[in-house]
Subunit: 174 residues, 4 copies
Amino acid sequence: MITIISGTNRSGSLTLRISQLYQELLATHGASAQILDLSHLPHDFAFSALYDKGGQNPAFTAFHQQAADSDKLVFIIPEYNGSFPGVLKTFLDGMPYPNPWKDCKAALVGISSGPQGAAPALSHFTDVLHYLGIHVLAHRVKMPFIEKSMADNYIQNENYLRQLNKQIESLLAF
Amino acid sequence: MITIISGTNRSGSLTLRISQLYQELLATHGASAQILDLSHLPHDFAFSALYDKGGQNPAFTAFHQQAADSDKLVFIIPEYNGSFPGVLKTFLDGMPYPNPWKDCKAALVGISSGPQGAAPALSHFTDVLHYLGIHVLAHRVKMPFIEKSMADNYIQNENYLRQLNKQIESLLAF
Amino acid sequence: MITIISGTNRSGSLTLRISQLYQELLATHGASAQILDLSHLPHDFAFSALYDKGGQNPAFTAFHQQAADSDKLVFIIPEYNGSFPGVLKTFLDGMPYPNPWKDCKAALVGISSGPQGAAPALSHFTDVLHYLGIHVLAHRVKMPFIEKSMADNYIQNENYLRQLNKQIESLLAF
Amino acid sequence: MITIISGTNRSGSLTLRISQLYQELLATHGASAQILDLSHLPHDFAFSALYDKGGQNPAFTAFHQQAADSDKLVFIIPEYNGSFPGVLKTFLDGMPYPNPWKDCKAALVGISSGPQGAAPALSHFTDVLHYLGIHVLAHRVKMPFIEKSMADNYIQNENYLRQLNKQIESLLAF
């Protein structure tokens, strides 16, 4: 099973829209996927589901267990303050130890309003995934100036679409 | 004003204890400091104080405004899953833009149960601080195997204490 | 074919000795490997084999072509000045474009005299390999205080040996 | 004294041209600077001036001693293979220990043909400089698509020029 993690809890985010488009692109390659949308996390999970509270918030547990059977992961990561969203990391900090995604294979997509395409975020996040024992596909897709690249609720930048399709081919073969 | 940020919301954390010891060490150098303890964040701040909700949670606003006048910062950062705690980054993601700490100078201290002393966390966090316009002292202190280095609620490792004192001298001169 | 890259040109290095031990460990798992020893690089390769001189130094070309058929790579990386050795990166900067190792799979081993085990070096190097299209095994082995962990020209630290064997199992299955 | 390090040994590089423009911009701010051009390194320095050969290549020693009295440094860093040039790091690996630039203050400028503006390179290089005890200015300037931003041997991108001038103001006040 492939799970796409929409890496922010911002409501109505472009990150969620890109996650849906990624799901559609996967479908054109014959692969089905579910989306794990971090905006559905319990609002107090950073206090009710972490550390000594690990496993004690049933809503949090149900949330990540939806994706427990995944063998491939796609993280759509917006750039916030020069790195990944704090909420995305907090979500991982709340997952059980050892992480149920150990030995999974992951593809990373970065988006940003500015010019970097979340490049530093993807680098930092690779360190996190490696720590958790999750393999990362070499081909990282970075989509800078994402707002300017969207129209009619779709990615208009041909290069971005080409890269996403190439990444999907690699992920399916990984 | 110097503010020490205790970089986790884990209650009763060693991070908070190290923050207090850092405050005491600063006092022996004639410098006073306050502690900003992330365990006092509003429990739902990741949903009630970020993005389009920016500035709308009075408790969150009051929390970070305590430290608005700082010109020097000390971040005590425990290593969680190969990087900084998600909550620490989420806290920064909720601060106003531009960040009130722009042009401040910061010292970083990493602690870990394992052997790395949060080295990758400090590297990632430097990228975040640079993005926010906060200067980072070259001398980063890393304290691996922190539990084994504590006794009587105090740091017993002479090398760690020497490094902390050296960092404090640099920070005061920075 | 598996190629082990001994990641420094320092003569008589511990890095080369670890490369040989890795080769022996691979043999106990039934896998054969060759060693590419950077101390055999032409001494002026940084000026005679890079950029507009790419492909013009036959000794440099012969050196990397020994390993052109590899599908798995092991990089033994000593920590120099908080990152990988400059010579290791210069070697990669001189290889043809696109890199013949594109789509290979790589395992990383870091060694250091000090406490970090080259953790930041492995993080930086992963960015480089990802750029070149080389997949990196999640399991990175870090061996701090390497001199103190050797005796009789062999690794005495049981934990290091256990980790190396685990990494080899992962690499062979990767 | 301010030293600008032109971070590659590629002959006739755009990096050297940007170094000269930076020197001219510094002059308009009333500050003089010299350029240390890595293309003037001895061709075999990676073998004749490092490790046990440290200090034994008089040409290498003379090269870095030109800049020994610097208190501020500017590194112009082109992106090669997802990081800084290997030669730049090799140069630092050959400098004396402790590094004569310890406690200096450094500004980083990244340039790239592609979209990243050497962002990961600047991140990696900050780790190296911090290791060496060199403070890094928070404001990093990244200039992607550099070739397209040049005409008449000058930077035409107004935003790049504005950022460089802002960085210079910060560096002079740092």
